[in-house]
């Protein structure tokens, strides 16, 4: 009896394996009826508003109607992403689009892709691999975002700049780019000074506590430079509690990044002064490269900075994420 069960179980397993192999082959051999097959490897869309917008943009662009057959894989872990890439290579996709969780470990799988004749396009994040392993990489220039924001701040011509600088997670590319621009300016100008420079790790509540600590100390400040919208919101919450006015023509200038829709609405209402864009809409750039070929290895996306005195309702709808 036992033997019979064993045989039964093993034959079922063998059968299942054979079937699944057939299924693999069938999927692999099936010609994708003229459509371009793309495998998209992204980070978890719940990670942030930026990622949600990015994923939505990808899904809206790589549709059947636009001539694509897209498969998606999400993970915040590098090894899972690499495994997903290997699966896509086995599925014989035409293009592999990758937003890597970490910069290292990709060489092997990219070489496999190259051998299989699959073109690789990196978006949002670069990786440490030889340039001839990928077609192009489409990225944001965080340092430029910082420079744009700081030169906007300088153009406000305040007699004195006393800045509370709330940083993101230390070492992240957004933090480095956005912090460096401000640090350089403060070092160069005599009337610029930093009242408090602290990391809130993208967290609104921590930002609130940091600003609260400055207010409690009684020190004067007139600029809040927060490296994302959430932290700017936390900072503003602390200002509101302490009855300090902020926004256009008020005591404190509030600056944020990422252009969340609700943040742009704050700008429109004049409660904040500036919001720097971190463009999540790479899909159109990728589409262009697939259809027309890559003109350069590194494509830097156009990114705006919005001023509360000039922003319009259309901007909010168009650029809000």
């Amino acid at each position: 009896m036992k033997k019979f069960v064993k045989i039964l179980v093993s034959s079922v397993l063998v059968g299942a394996m054979a079937l699944s192999m057939c299924a693999c082959n069938a999927a692999g051999k099936k010609k994708s009826n003229g459509k371009i097959k793309v495998g998209i490897i992204n980070n978890d869309p719940n990670e942030s508003g930026y990622r949600t917008a990015n994923d939505k943009d990808m899904k809206a662009t790589f549709t059947e109607a636009n001539g694509y057959e897209a498969s998606f894989a999400y993970s915040l872990k590098n090894d899972e992403q690499i495994a997903a890439a290997q699966k896509f290579i086995q599925d014989e996709v035409d293009y592999l689009l990758i937003s890597a969780a970490a910069t290292t470990g990709w060489d092997g799988v990219l070489e496999q892709a190259k051998k299989a004749g699959i073109k690789v396009i990196l978006f949002d994040r670069t990786i440490d691999a030889s340039e001839d392993l990928y077609e192009a990489s489409i990225v944001s220039d965080m340092a430029k975002e910082g420079d744009t924001a700081v030169s906007w701040l300088a153009s406000q011509n305040l007699p004195e700049y006393k800045v509370i600088h709330i940083q993101g997670v230390m070492g992240s590319s957004a933090q480095i780019g956005r912090s460096d621009a401000l640090n350089k300016k403060v070092a160069a100008e005599s009337n610029w000074s930093i009242v408090q420079q602290q990391t809130a790790e993208w967290n609104a509540e921590t930002a609130q506590q940091i600003v609260q600590a400055v207010i409690d100390s009684g020190e004067k400040f007139n600029v809040i430079y927060a490296e994302n919208d959430d932290m700017a919101k936390g900072a503003v919450q602390a200002l509101d509690k302490a009855n300090i006015s902020h926004g256009v023509g008020k005591d404190v200038i509030v600056m944020g990044f990422d252009c969340n829709k609700w943040a742009l609405e704050e700008l429109l209402a004049g409660n904040w002064n500036y919001d720097g864009q971190c463009n999540p809409f790479q899909a159109s750039y990728i589409n262009d490269i697939i259809k027309n070929g890559a003109k350069q290895k590194t494509v830097i996306m156009e990114e705006k900075g919005f001023d509360a005195s000039t922003i319009t309702k259309d901007d909010v709808d168009k650029y809000g994420i």
């Binding site: 408090q196 509540e205 940091i210």
Partner: protein, 371 residues
């Protein structure tokens, strides 16, 4: 002569009092608090200045570092209540607290906003949202509790499930939108109620403490949790069902999470699933450890845990005040934490007491020899 004897006796009494105090579980968190207070007095006494100033709504409110500390420590203190019970009964910790706060907050916003992420008016009374959030959180707490109590999974492993999945579930509840509530009355619970000069979370935390004090006084929860934590099989033989007690402790933690999550979303009137209450579980577990409670379960002291929570916030605010370099802030915290936790570990304290006794007896010996 009599004077001398009296003096000696009173000295003895003082010594005995001191020893008893050092042996008391409250000693370590209180000493840590005292240390932080003294440090701030020495370096900058203005730390303790409290002023009454009008808020943006025109009502006078209290402000100052101390107010900031008791305000921001509220969530931590509330969570420490639940975590202490879970630690005592199950001998392990719940690491899903931060993620389940995201879920609780998301539920509150979902009920208040409906499907519209930027509602003009609230879709439901706030109390309804709060109650739904309590029920949902209690269910998630029960989920953890069932895994731990009935499936006998290590608490840290069992709660790892929600630790990993919680923030995604939170995002899913609101369809991945980030709702923002404009109704000012929702902000009362995380900030100020107009006309009352103290932040509302302080009152909420006080209410939770009063409630748990009452529960521990009136019911046998303390005794049962401790006995289950010390020896589950012998407590079963004595007619206590260890599984039920563990489950109850996780459900209570779930309710604490609901209250903390409610305060968190009320503070900002919005939520960010990926960072709300990030790493708060570590601070909560630290509060329990700082309170001198054995993390392996058994006897516990609720007051010590709660004081531990305030010590942690005191430390955080002190670090902000002294503008510790951003990159180094976690390192500073870690150093302080190491010292505090090592000192408050029951084993080290036992050794310290023994060491003291040795010194005292040595002194006595020397004295005798001299005589």
């Amino acid at each position: 002569m009599t004077k001398n004897v009296k003096f000696k006796e009173s000295m003895k009494a003082v010594k005995a009092f001191l020893i008893r105090m050092v042996q008391n579980q409250l000693f370590i968190p209180l000493a840590a608090l005292l240390f932080l207070v003294l440090f701030n007095i020495v370096v900058d006494p203005s730390f303790f200045r409290i002023s009454l100033e009008p808020s943006s709504e025109g009502y006078p409110v209290l402000s100052g570092y101390l107010i900031t500390i008791i305000d921001n420590a509220s969530e931590l203190a509330i969570l420490a209540i639940g975590m202490t019970l879970v630690t005592a009964a199950s001998g392990g910790q719940d690491i899903s607290v931060g993620s389940t706060i995201a879920i609780a907050g998301s539920v509150v916003l979902r009920v208040l906003c409906g499907t519209d992420s930027r509602p003009e008016t609230l879709k439901a009374p706030i109390i309804v949202a709060f109650l739904v959030c309590v029920i949902v959180s209690a269910l998630f707490g029960a989920f953890n509790g069932v895994l731990v109590a009935y499936f006998k999974i290590q608490p840290m492993v069992a709660t790892l499930i929600l630790f990993t999945a919680g923030r995604s579930i939170a995002a899913w509840i609101n369809n991945n939108e980030l709702p923002v509530i404009n109704d000012p009355s929702f902000g009362y619970y995380g900030n100020f109620i107009p006309g009352i000069p103290l932040p509302t979370p302080v009152f909420i935390a006080a209410a939770c403490m009063a409630l748990i004090a009452l529960v521990l006084k009136v019911t046998n929860l303390r005794l049962y949790a401790q006995s289950v934590g010390i020896n589950p099989s012998s407590s079963r033989l004595n007619g206590i069902n260890p599984q039920t007690i563990k489950l109850i402790s996780f459900i209570i933690l779930g309710i604490c999470v609901a209250v903390a999550g409610f305060i968190k979303v009320s503070r900002l009137s919005t939520i960010n699933y990926s960072v709300v209450a990030k790493d708060i579980e570590m601070d909560v577990i630290l509060a329990v450890a700082l309170g001198g409670n054995a993390l392996s379960g058994g006897k516990f002291n609720m007051t010590a845990s709660i004081i531990g929570a305030y010590v942690i916030q005191f430390l955080t605010t002190t670090l902000f005040k002294f503008k510790v370099n951003s990159a180094a802030i976690s390192a500073y915290k870690a150093v302080v934490v190491i010292i505090l936790v090592v000192l408050s570990a029951p084993y080290v304290r036992k050794k310290l007491v023994e060491f003291r006794k040795k010194i005292v007896s040595h002194k006595v010996k020397v004295r005798k020899e001299v005589a």
